[in-house]
């Protein structure tokens, strides 16, 4: 009961204080729109290319939305010392961090649906396997959020978190098969691709949207879930080592 009350109130406060603020709502809408427009114009192949581009745009929207917000909600609160209040609460650390990241997960899922809603009006999306698409979106949001948490815990300034995030984000955009197939990458880059969580999320999304995927869905889901657990566990370990040292 105590954990539930604390969890819900941390999530509700973050939603009010950060995610539902007009600048973040507009950013959450504008960013995916800009990505969609950019790739649509770049491909130059007309409305028919939307199903091919959609998985990449969805994944990028989630990745940038979640990692950017964590830098604020965690790093900023740590710097202003209000995070100490949470660390003093009599709830397990994993519950606290799950509450603290839930807002970003929901924000990431909401971001994912901006390009989807746009695409509904422009293309035929009747072939999308929603039973696969929805868990894929959720797991990508989870993995991206925990990647953002891992970064936020490793730094002490908000600008460091943003810079450090880019170190992961931009290579992931180009190496995870979102817009460029992994089998067309140089041989030495392929192992890097398979070491990144978004590769498996992108594979799931491609499979769900237009049916072409490289790995079995069960393997994608298992590895993506594994990355989520690993990133969350590493973040908790770093919090214990660095913030409760």
């Amino acid at each position: 009961m105590r954990c539930g009350t604390a969890f819900w109130n941390i999530l509700a406060k973050d939603m009010r204080s950060y995610y539902l603020k007009p600048p973040n709502i507009s950013w959450g809408i504008m960013f995916p729109l800009a990505w969609t427009a950019m790739f649509f114009i770049k491909s130059g192949s007309g409305l028919g290319s939307i199903p091919t581009l959609l998985p990449g745009v969805v994944a990028v929207s989630i990745l940038f939305g979640t990692t950017s917000m964590l830098a604020v909600t965690v790093t900023f609160e740590k710097k202003s010392r209000s995070f100490e209040r949470l660390l003093l609460a009599p709830i397990p650390l994993w519950v606290l961090m799950l509450a603290k990241t839930s807002g970003a997960i929901l924000f990431g899922v909401a971001n994912a649906f901006v390009p989807v809603v746009m695409a509904i009006f422009l293309a035929d999306l009747s072939r999308i396997q929603w039973g696969l698409f929805l868990p894929a979106v959720f797991l990508i949001a989870l993995a991206s959020t925990f990647l953002g948490l891992f970064i936020a815990v490793a730094v002490s300034e908000v600008f460091e978190a943003q810079t450090f995030s880019n170190f992961f984000r931009f290579p992931m955009v180009f190496l995870c098969g979102l817009f460029f197939p992994i089998d067309k990458l140089p041989l030495f880059l392929k192992p890097v691709s398979y070491a990144l969580p978004l590769t498996y999320g992108a594979d799931l999304l491609h499979g769900a949207v237009h049916g072409r995927h490289a790995l079995p869905y069960s393997l994608d889901l298992f590895l993506l879930a594994g990355f989520c657990v690993l990133l969350f566990a590493l973040s908790l370990r770093n919090i214990r080592r660095r913030w409760i040292a």
Binding site: A6, K13, S80, R81, S82, E84, R85, I244
Partner: protein
């Protein structure tokens, strides 16, 4: 096991190192249930580090911690439901109102909505903050921020309250209100662990005091025991202008029955076993070009105890955080 008679806080051989620096070097103390215990020392002495270890914000490198009989050395979360913490800086959420901040802090301890709203309203009234309840915390004055931070620390009715420098950086009137609030909390039975660098504040509020210097407790005792050896002393403080510190030696030669020290710029403290004669001293100073503005007989205070025990000047405490006028 009956935990009623166990110490509220027990620290045994606490050690905390930051690289080469030993911030806390084997600290031992006990705080009894319902006691107001003062932890007094200059900046960097290890006060906040000790509080952080006791409350679970830092892990000791060695030693043991028990809170209300619960071993928290390896599991700092074990007793967090029993404690409240008021940090040295107000760290509530600037974007939330005073009322929302209190409700949020109560929710972290699992309090239900109706209970936390009632409690928040009562505390806002007790701390004379009701008119500002709906204002954002960012717009509060320093004194109001301090009071709301204390209210947030006790919103869940903790048995043990840690107060880290509660009056630093706030105006005199707010500091007086905060001290009254601390005294009321103590009267209501809350165990209070208070760190401060204001000696008079510690003397006025605390029952027992530990002096910490360079990470070590150099003395801990009941306030009356600390003051007892000074009761027979006679003290005089002279405020003057134009008398150099080096002149203390000349004073000591001219008046060998008294001990002289200078607790601050333009101040001379005279200590004797017999009543100190003011006239000869003032004449001596004026003959040497000093302009005496005040000569005041003083009651023995913890300042003398602090100087005697630590060998430090009291100024080292007062100068450490010149953030405001919170001095008692």
């Amino acid at each position: 096991m009956n935990r009623q008679h166990e110490p509220a806080i027990e620290a045994r051989g606490l050690v905390k190192r930051f690289g080469e620096v030993e911030a806390v070097a084997g600290v031992d103390f006990e705080v009894l249930p319902g006691e107001l215990f003062g932890f007094l020392g200059p900046n960097g002495a290890g006060k906040t580090t000790t509080i952080n270890m006791l409350t679970g914000l830092a892990r000791p490198d060695a030693g043991a911690i028990r809170i209300a009989g619960i071993d928290c050395t390896r599991n700092p979360k074990a007793a967090q439901h029993l404690i409240g913490v008021v940090p040295d800086e107000s760290n509530l959420y600037p974007e939330l109102s005073g009322f929302e901040n209190l409700c949020f802090c109560a929710a972290l301890y699992g309090m239900g909505r109706a209970e936390r709203e009632d409690r928040a309203q009562k505390l806002l009234a007790d701390f004379a903050l009701t008119p500002a309840a709906k204002r954002k915390f960012a717009g509060y004055s320093k004194g109001m921020k301090r009071k709301l931070t204390i209210a947030a620390g006790i919103i869940h009715r903790p048995r043990i309250l840690f107060l880290d420098e509660p009056t630093t950086g706030i105006d005199v009137a707010s500091a007086r209100q905060v001290r009254q609030l601390i005294a009321e909390l103590h009267r209501s039975g809350t165990t209070i662990f208070l760190t401060t660098h204001y000696i008079e504040e510690a003397q006025r509020l605390c029952e027992r005091i530990a002096f910490i210097v360079n990470g070590r407790i150099v003395r801990q005792d009941w306030v009356k025991n600390l003051l007892q050896p000074l009761e027979a002393k006679h003290l005089l403080q002279i405020s003057c202008h134009g008398f150099p510190r080096e002149g203390l030696e000349a004073l000591a030669q001219a008046f060998p029955h008294y001990a002289f020290s200078s607790p601050g710029e333009g101040l001379i403290r005279v200590e004797g076993n017999d009543p100190v004669g003011v006239g000869p001293l003032v004449r001596f100073l004026e003959e040497r070009g000093a302009e005496v503005s005040e000569a005041r007989r003083m009651r023995p205070s913890l300042e003398e105890v602090f100087i005697a025990i630590t060998g430090l000047e009291v100024d080292i405490l007062h100068k450490e955080k010149e953030k405001g006028g919170g001095r008692p």
